[in-house]
């Protein structure tokens, strides 16, 4: 059990008198994309805040690379190999693309300064759009471009796990398609991903495993290839409309896994 890259055990936390997570547990295995789904307000983003360290857990444990990081600071977790793509992208609007990427490499530069140039060139290779606009102010880019920058920034510290919070929110379908391809490529590089998403189809296409959260607890968990479309539909409360697309997605995944 403790050979998973990231694990949340029995997390209970909230704000003030509001408990948002009740006994929340999920995990990300090495090399996989784990998707956390659920309706608005279910607690998905709150659980990511606990993973990042931005919100303390009242009880429960967070394990990363075999170590208990429940009490570790946000910055220390990043130094240990956790990269982030925050909700709303949160790029540094008044700084250029290159400056954003440089900031992403802050912990890398402190560890191994000489690797920075190489890593930057790598990122520019994989994201030619960022290379083109490296002196452009991040705030002037479109949502999709900022999403790409946020992913690039998260990768600059060469993390083992990339934690991504609702990346497709506010993006046009074209941008979402590009984002999907970007993340697919990132996954191909061997980076494990923890993804929280509202867009069900997006998650199902990208994830290997899915965890469904409802009112602060995981109510369903399983490999996408073996999904029970009915169960998911009920938990997400979406009904007939989604059923068709869900069935298609799972069948595709199962076929890909099988072949």
């Amino acid at each position: 059990m403790s050979d998973h890259l990231l694990e949340l055990h029995g997390i209970r936390t909230g704000f003030g008198a509001n408990t948002v997570l009740h006994d929340c547990s999920y995990h990300v295995a090495e090399g996989e994309v784990a998707g956390v789904l659920g309706l608005n307000g279910a607690g998905k983003s709150v659980s990511l805040k606990v993973v990042a360290g931005l919100l303390p857990a009242w009880s429960g444990r967070v394990m990363f690379r075999g170590e208990d990081i429940t009490k570790t600071s946000v910055e220390e977790r990043v130094a240990r190999g956790m990269g982030h793509v925050p909700q709303g992208r949160q790029v540094f609007a008044d700084l250029t693309v290159e400056e954003n990427l440089r900031l992403g490499a802050y912990t890398l530069r402190r560890r191994q300064r000489d690797r920075y140039r190489q890593t930057l060139d790598n990122i520019f290779d994989r994201f030619p759009l960022l290379a083109e606009r490296k002196d452009q102010l991040a705030g002037t880019m479109s949502g999709g471009q900022q999403a790409m920058l946020a992913v690039g920034r998260g990768l600059m510290s060469e993390p083992k796990l990339l934690v991504i919070d609702e990346p497709s929110a506010g993006l046009s379908p074209v941008a979402v398609k590009e984002l999907f391809e970007t993340l697919h490529m990132v996954h191909g590089l061997g980076v494990s991903i923890l993804l929280v998403e509202q867009n069900v189809t997006f998650s199902l296409k990208l994830a290997d495993r899915v965890h469904i959260m409802q009112r602060g607890q995981i109510v369903y968990e399983g490999a996408v290839a073996e999904l029970d479309a009915d169960k998911i539909a009920t938990h997400l409360g979406v009904g007939r409309l989604l059923h068709r697309s869900l069935t298609t997605a799972t069948r595709t995944k199962a076929a890909a896994a099988g072949s």
Partner: protein, 631 residues
């Protein structure tokens, strides 16, 4: 109280009104007499030596000053860090009137109030556009300017030679003795206290608090924010000027440096400190803090020169540990218990899956008559609306028609422009082009708060309530447009105003009971769960029986079963209450279940619209929502 009675106005006839007025005046006078009795009784005795009376009187004057700032800063949330300007203005005005024009004391005070109000108006108008720190620094600059220019102008203020303000006199009796003046000042304190109470018990205080919390929420409930902000400035300025004058006559001598930033004490900062320590918005806390401040030096005499250092360290410490001041610390003890309870619970606290029925209330009196429209006639007609933010077209030539008696849904992915369109209709955002007509009246270009009066109610994604007010106070705030009495009558809490308030309270109680939230009547809204807050918000929006409801993602944060219940309530609003709804929603099944007509929005454009059946069959709807490629 039956529902029918709530719609009417409790007419009581003139006779009873006079009696009520007489009773109130009598009570006020009795209170004033009680307050002024102790100093008069003890004057000249060893219990109240002259210098002690002077100190206490000074403290009461500072309490008056602090209460004036509290109205602006604590209630209305407008940061004024230069209140010394108004104190000085009042003191000098009263000085000039009493010295040069030989006017009696109370005329001096009235003159001070008038001049204070005028200067407050001068500051308040530009202040309308400023927020937060920009406003704060502007007020400091204003105070500084007053200090360096007007206060130093010799013909007006006597410059550094200053003015000697006389004590008041009644016939042959002069208020020389500090104890006598103390009695006078205590009477003023009673007056200020009652005035302040009237503010907090009427629509004025509620409007101020709403403005402080979130101007949009205030606008949504029909509060004309700009006017009330000016009102807050004017009231605060006038009361501060009177307080400054009172202080001046107590001390007897004021000059150009008395109210300066370099003065000891720096009144502008002192008042802010006192309010912060007493607790922002707390009448009692502020008065206590002021009087303690005035008396503390006596107890610290043994410190011999270290008082200022100890005081400064104590101030820093208090602010660091109790940001809410005295009042906040008292409140904290109550909430801490609640938090501990939440943490120790084993099972999740269940929101009621079944939403209680929404309140059904008739239209309040005193609102403009609305034309009767047939079912199906267009209620809201939006045409050609475009909104551009920094080069990006957030809404592009949108056209929406909402017919009476329908529930119309506006769907689309995140960032499609739905909320921006709502904001354009609500008046929070001015579109570059287009029109939005509600029952024939054009909305675009007009101030947001008129919508409530016209009959449009709106909810917000983040819950449009003043979250640190109680449930009841929010229901009262929501009836702002039905609070049919002028501000002046509210300030003096005339029987007429009280009658209207009673009606509003009755309506609020009925609504709270309908929701089953009696136990939450006095609970601050922020202590409720998200689902409960959403319900209170819906109740508040319905309490003035608007024709059209604009609902912004009402199902956000609700469990699936509760969403189904919400659907039932929405149908109730349409069928039983005979209202019209335009809603933004992400929850497709809810939309398909409840809406009669749907508009699909993406990239700011209306992609498709039609009846629910038509839309459910269109593939681009599914694609736009779920992010699949359009077939």
């Amino acid at each position: 109280m039956s529902v029918q009675e709530l719609g009417g106005w409790p007419y009581e006839g003139y006779g009873i009104n006079l009696r009520v007025t007489k009773r109130k005046v009598f009570a006020a006078v009795a209170l004033a007499a009680a307050a002024s009795a102790p100093p008069l009784l003890f004057r000249g005795t060893t219990l109240l030596p002259g210098h002690l009376a002077l100190s206490i009187a000074g403290g009461v004057c500072i309490a008056l000053m602090a209460m004036s700032l509290n109205i602006l800063l604590g209630y209305a949330g407008q940061i004024s860090l230069g209140h010394g300007a108004f104190l000085g203005v009042g003191a000098f005005a009263s000085g000039l009137l009493t010295i040069n024009l030989y006017m009696p004391f109370f005329v001096g005070l009235l003159g001070a109030a008038l001049v204070g109000a005028i200067f407050a108006l001068v500051l308040g108008v530009p202040a309308l556009r400023l927020r937060g720190l920009y406003l704060a620094i502007t007020t400091i600059a204003f105070a500084f300017m007053m200090e360096e220019s007007w206060f130093r102008w010799e013909p007006l203020t006597g410059g550094s030679a200053g003015l000697e303000l006389p004590r008041p006199r009644v016939g042959a009796f002069v208020f020389f003795q500090h104890a006598d003046y103390l009695a006078l000042v205590l009477v003023l304190l009673v007056g200020y206290w009652l005035f302040d109470q009237n503010i907090t018990r009427t629509k004025i205080g509620r409007a101020f608090n709403a403005i402080r919390w979130d101007e949009r929420v205030a606008q949504g409930f029909g509060v004309p924010v700009a006017s009330y902000k000016i009102l807050a400035f004017v009231l605060s300025g006038a009361l501060a000027a009177v307080a400054g004058a009172t202080y001046g006559h107590l001390i007897g001598f004021i000059n150009s440096e008395s109210f300066a930033y370099k003065a000891q004490p720096n009144f502008s900062l002192l008042l802010v400190i006192i309010i912060a320590i007493g607790g922002l918005g707390s009448r009692a806390g502020v008065v206590i803090a002021a009087i303690v401040y005035a008396l503390i030096p006596r107890f610290l005499e043994f410190l011999q020169g270290w008082e200022l250092i100890v005081g400064a360290v104590a101030l820093i410490d208090v602010m660091a540990r109790h940001p809410g001041g005295i009042a906040g610390a008292v409140r904290e003890r109550g909430t801490k218990r609640g938090e501990r309870k939440a943490r120790s619970e084993v099972d999740p606290v269940d929101d009621d899956d079944d939403l209680p029925k929404l309140p059904r209330l008739p239209r309040p009196m005193g609102l403009p008559a609305r034309p009767e429209l047939d079912a199906g006639a267009p209620l809201l007609e939006v045409e050609g609306v475009s909104v551009t933010f920094g080069g990006v077209k957030a809404v592009d030539d949108a056209a929406v028609t909402v017919r009476r008696g329908q529930i119309v849904g506006l769907i689309g992915p995140n960032g499609a422009g739905k909320t921006t369109l709502f904001n354009a209709i609500s008046g929070f955002v001015t579109p570059d082009a287009g029109s939005a007509r509600f029952m024939g009246t054009e909305l675009i270009g007009r101030s947001p708060h008129i919508r409530a009066r016209l009959g449009i109610g709106r909810t917000f994604q983040q819950i449009g309530l003043t979250k640190d007010l109680s449930v009841q106070e929010n229901f009262l705030l929501a009836q702002h447009i039905a609070a049919d009495y002028p501000v002046a009558k509210g300030l003096f809490l005339t029987p007429g105003a009280e009658g209207v308030e009673r009606t509003m309270r009755g309506r609020a109680t009925a609504a709270i009971e309908a929701l089953g939230f009696e136990r939450f009547t006095t609970t601050p809204v922020r202590n409720l769960s998200h689902g409960q807050q959403r319900l209170v918000e819906l109740g508040c929006v319905l309490v003035t029986a608007p024709e059209l409801l604009l609902l912004d993602e009402p199902s956000a944060g609700m469990a699936p079963a509760a969403v189904e219940s919400l659907g039932e309530r929405l149908r109730e609003i349409r069928d039983e209450l005979d209202r019209t709804v335009l809603l933004i929603e992400h929850h497709i099944p809810l939309v398909l279940d409840v809406c009669d007509y749907i508009y699909v929005l993406n990239f700011g454009k209306i992609l498709a619209h039609g009846t629910t059946d038509e839309i459910a069959r269109k593939p681009e709807v599914i694609g736009a929502y779920f992010g699949e490629e359009v077939a």
